[in-house]
Amino acid sequence: MAKLHISSTPHIHQKGSFTGKIMLDVAIALLPATVVGILFFGLTALWVVLTCVISAVLAEVIFNLCVGKKQTVGDFSAVVTGLLLGLNLSINVPLWQCVIGSVFAIVVVKGFFGGLGKNIVNPAIAARVFMLLTFGSVGAVVTIAPVLDLGFLGQAVAAPELIAGATPLAALNQGAGAEGTLSVLQLLVGAHGGTIGETCGIALLLGYVYLVARKVIKWYVPAAFVATVFACFYLLDGFNATYALQHVLAGGVLLGAIFMATDYVTTPNTPWGRVIFCVGAGLLTFAIRKFGSFPEGVSIAILTMNLLTPFISTWTKKKTLGGIK
């Protein structure tokens, strides 16, 4: 008889509970938004996303080789980081900038801090903000209308070719009912300017449903974020439900709430901590959009809350049953 395996308890493991599978689930949940982004923005969108993913994975491989660490590409976290970064950029970002952004995310934000699980801020968001500050135009600032003809939805999508124009968020920031604002339905479909992955509310919600069903995220975490943004714009900016809903759907609120405010590593690990994180991020988003100099505030809001994560975690930790603390 062959030698028997010896190990300590337990001898079984939860089916499907592996880091790689979780990351793969996140990537799968991002697929609808990616596909829709490519449909709306054309092949350039595909090149942007692909460049980000491939350079993120390569950066991870090379970094691990350089510092002599075990290869960790198998956990798919670099794929998710690359994909998230790509979806957070608009198609007018040059590909070489995409490469620099991805390398920054993987090497500086993640690798230098000790790899997966040790980074204190979300790599994709940090890279996006880095690109915004370094290269100026990255995100939703410069906008391009989609190539797909969805004329039946009315303005801003009538022409099949690329046209420059204000993002719905920039229009919204002029106030409720300003020129160029899109209806809630138009925002849900997402055939308008913005970053590749943020425009289509329906695609993002599909990803949300998938992640909740796969038990990767808790339903109330993104909901807390979205509800806070909605409540702020509703209560503090004119009691206009349509306007508040437009703010939720325009820009990166859904993408951030579903995919980045739920990142395990950089958010608190307690249920209440996660809610507080999202409420904080929602408040900051409102504050930046309303009073800040950027039209978009989700990235900075999440980044700020990332830094507060250890405090929130400790603060919301429940007492061990029967323990002293």
């Binding site: 028997l4 308890t9 079984i12 939860q14 089916k15 997966l116 007492k319």
Partner: protein, 453 residues
């Protein structure tokens, strides 16, 4: 309503729930280790060449919380030597070559019991230990309850059997509800001063509907016996979890269990104790579930204690080369080195995994998902324990570890089971608890030295 603190769904795999236990043919030999209980090893009182009969005392208890060992077959003592054990200490064993007659010893007769003291002595002589896994001598557990400081008002009879695969307690309840009833009556009669007014709660998980039905019928006219149905959610059978889920009381680490007003005993221990008190036949055989992905025909077997596991596997057959053999449940059992090892008093199951299911993943980096805390019955943050363990200064480390509440860990292994990074989290808690134990002992010594000096 109070929320249960157990929250993990594990696949039940109770493939043998409908398998009537079958008595195996008399094995050619049995191996009886001297450490089949939690305390000190027992001391052999027979010599090589002696003829022994079933139920005959062959090793007496030696030291605290020890328990005697009885011959489980009739035959000749062929060998007394030492064998390695899972904890690395090693133990003496007695090998008896069976003569195939199963002749019963003259010493096997109904013990005379008149009062609490003689009752405890009888339970002690019968070699009855906690069969749920801890193997704590049952008499000692009862003895604790006689402490006047403790007011025991609830006796929890642990029939949860929350681990996957195992059905030996389940089959015991189906086969011998009368023994369970007798056991309860013995306790009420001879420990009446302490347990006379206590409620006996038989705690069964709802996946054993037939057992619940039989028990409810058996105890229909006994108002002091309650069949307490537990949700089928791991780890209902851990004593601290059962105490909370059944009574709402919180077991605080470092205090004896009866101080929470409850006594807890495994259902098979209680039944086999009653059988001993009825007949005088000590703990010489038990039901063992043989199952697992590599077992051809999962079965429940009745086998003499000390039967080699390979003998059991011959009966059930294997459909794949064994990769890992576990004695006990998959969450808490012990992986053994060789199938020639014997089954012991607490061996409620033998699980054979094939090469594929035997291998678990390599641990990777913690991604802070919080699933370990979420599934922990007492909400220990293992990552915090891990950080505290790395503190250099021993005093600071001890304080930090106590602050994490790690002493409340119930050893259920839920944290390791759910960890997406396959990290050995339970072992981190074990390391922490071992350190705290050592540290506390050192502090006591220091204090005593100060007083004496």
């Amino acid at each position: 309503m109070r929320k249960d603190i157990s929250s993990l769904h594990v696949p039940h795999n109770k493939n043998t729930a409908a398998c009537e236990p079958q008595r195996i043919a008399i094995p050619a030999e049995v191996i009886l280790p001297m450490n089949m209980h939690s305390g000190h090893d027992a001391e052999p009182i027979v010599n090589v060449g002696d003829y022994v009969k079933v139920g005959q005392l062959i090793a007496r208890e030696e030291g605290r919380f020890s328990s005697p060992v009885h011959a489980t077959v009739s035959g000749t003592v062929a060998e007394i030597a030492t064998m390695p054990t899972a904890n690395g200490k090693g133990t003496t064993f007695i090998r008896i070559e069976s003569d195939g007659k199963m002749e019963v010893s003259e010493t096997v007769k109904k013990p005379e019991i008149t009062d609490c003291a003689s009752f405890l002595q009888a339970v002690r002589d019968g070699g009855i230990v906690g069969l749920g896994g801890a193997a704590f001598p049952t008499w000692a557990k009862f003895n604790e309850a006689t402490n006047p400081d403790y007011k025991v008002d609830t006796v929890l009879i642990n029939a949860a059997e929350c681990e996957p695969y195992i059905t030996s307690d389940h089959r015991m309840m189906l086969a011998h509800p009368d023994w369970i009833a007798d056991g309860i009556e013995y306790l009420r009669t001879y420990m009446g001063d302490y347990l006379g007014n206590a409620t006996f709660k038989i705690c069964v998980e709802t996946n054993k509907a037939d057992a619940i039905e039989i028990l409810e019928k058996t105890f229909a006219d006994k108002p002091y016996v309650v069949i307490h149905k537990l949700k089928t959610i791991y780890p209902q059978g851990a004593k601290q979890v059962m105490l909370y889920n059944a009574t709402g009381r919180v077991a605080v680490a470092g205090r004896r269990f009866p101080s929470f007003g409850a006594l807890i005993i495994n259902v098979s221990s209680l039944a086999l104790m009653a059988n001993y008190l009825n007949t005088g036949m000590p703990l010489v055989e038990r039901i063992v579930t043989v199952d697992g992905p590599a077992v051809a025909q999962p079965m429940n077997l009745i086998a003499p204690i000390g039967t080699r596991i390979s003998e059991l596997l011959k009966i059930t057959g294997l459909k794949a080369e064994p990769g890992k053999v576990v004695v006990g449940g998959p969450m808490n059992g012990t992986a053994i080195y060789s199938v020639d090892d014997p089954m012991v008093k607490v061996s409620n199951a033998v699980l054979v995994f094939d090469e594929k299911t035997a291998k678990l993943c390599e641990p990777s980096a913690c991604i802070n998902c919080g699933r370990c805390v979420e599934k922990c019955p007492v909400r220990i943050d293992v990552a915090e324990v891990d950080r505290a363990l790395k503190i250099k200064n021993e005093d600071a480390r001890a304080q930090a570890l106590i602050d994490t509440g790690v002493r409340q860990c119930v050893d259920c292994a839920c944290c390791s089971y759910v960890c997406p990074a396959s990290r050995p989290l339970l072992q981190i808690n074990w390391e922490a608890k071992a350190f705290l134990k050592k540290y506390a002992a050192e502090q006591r010594e220091k204090k005593e030295a100060n007083i004496n000096g």
